[in-house]
Symmetry: C2
Subunit: 204 residues, 2 copies
DNA sequence: CATCTTATGACACTCTGTGTCATTATGTAA
DNA sequence: TTACATAATGACACAGAGTGTCATAAGATG
């Protein structure tokens, strides 16, 4: 039994026999070998030795096999947002908070080569690229909350958080397209195009 | 025969009998009445008095019925980018070019109330919101080309165009959620969060 | 061993999106 | 008027995503 399976273990009842991480990795291998659209959910289930319905119990969609494991990144970013405030820094320098959060998110990724493979697969398929808006929604919410707490108007905070997500995603894509080991310089360069509006205001 | 059908008319052969605009409008009505996911392509085809296959000949996907008619907006934005350069303005003020392009795009929309309805439908369905990345791709390319021509590095231009699209989309969504007649103030406010990096450089 | 909990997968279903192909309608030329 | 070319049309069939139901299997607990 893997650690992932152990996590799902309850006090009683049948324990999980499927390791989601292993299945996702296997799916990524199949996608790399035969192509994303040429690999059906049934193919993946068969290769994993499980049923198609069981596969859907762990992954709500085919895209979830690629977009996945972002919870630790969001969690690390959220912690960075929180500690940034706790350090009593100025609200005027919210951009520094965004930079720290982006870097903190990147820092918790265990295997960057796997992430690079996932991002390249995402870049190659519009169906997966589109998914970014949904998949990054939790990060957007955390950034929005941070910006509102920093004193920005709701409207300005929404604009800035939208730009924050779009630029950092673009940074990750640029990093994935190359071979540089460290994504952080890309993230910092991306955030250079952002600024906090002087009036901190929205429309009007 | 409508003007739209006339546009598709060739020198010879059977002329089109289906008006895509009418079909899309009818589809929007059905979505509003029964909900997006409760309305199948077959329902729409039946209501329009055509076959499902014919419906797919005019609209590549169900989402295309909602995301559609953006070509004039892209065209107007592109023209604004071009005339901005022709006026011999400084490359340093590329943000003004982005503002003009965004406003020019909004100016060519014939019926804003229809656009508001479409955007609200998009806001309510993650499936449609996700589509923004693909649907806005042409605008992203035009903005990217403009920024590169303005002297930005390819990397910085990609970051800025990503932020441009994300913020203007967010502006449209905020406008659609309210009742203000003019979307331009939202667009201008959104672009206030952008800046041109001083070194105009990318990573490194 | 009995029982409870949960994973599992078989079955059936709707819907999206695609491909093929015969048919029909209409404009143009002989 | 008669071919003829062109393109719209829709009938049929199909793969695959995603969902719902339900009987069964398997392991943990008492």
């Amino acid at each position: 039994m893997t650690s992932e399976a152990a996590k799902r273990q309850r006090a009683s009842g049948r324990p999980a026999t499927i390791d989601p991480d292993a299945v996702a990795g296997l799916a990524l291998d199949l996608f790399a070998e035969h192509g994303y659209e040429n690999t059906s959910m049934e193919d993946i289930a068969r290769a994993a030795g499980i049923g198609r319905k069981s596969l859907y119990r762990y992954f709500a969609s085919k895209a979830d096999l690629v977009w996945g494991g972002t919870e630790p990144v969001v969690e690390a970013s959220t912690l960075a947002f929180g500690s940034f405030h706790q350090q009593g820094k100025s609200d005027a320098d919210v951009l520094a908070g965004l930079r720290e959060a982006a870097a903190a998110g990147a820092a918790v990724i265990p295997d960057l080569s796997v992430t690079r493979g996932r991002l390249r697969l995402i870049a190659e398929h519009a169906e997966l690229t589109s998914r970014s808006y949904e998949s990054l929604a939790p990060q957007r919410e955390k950034a929005l909350a941070f910006l509102v707490e920093s004193g920005l108007s709701d409207s300005a905070a929404r604009f800035l958080s939208a730009a924050y997500l779009a630029t950092t995603f673009e940074a990750w894509m640029q990093w994935a397209a190359g071979s540089d080991p460290d994504p952080v310089p890309y993230l910092l360069a991306a955030l250079e195009v952002l600024r906090v509006p002087l009036e901190k205001a929205g429309v009007g």
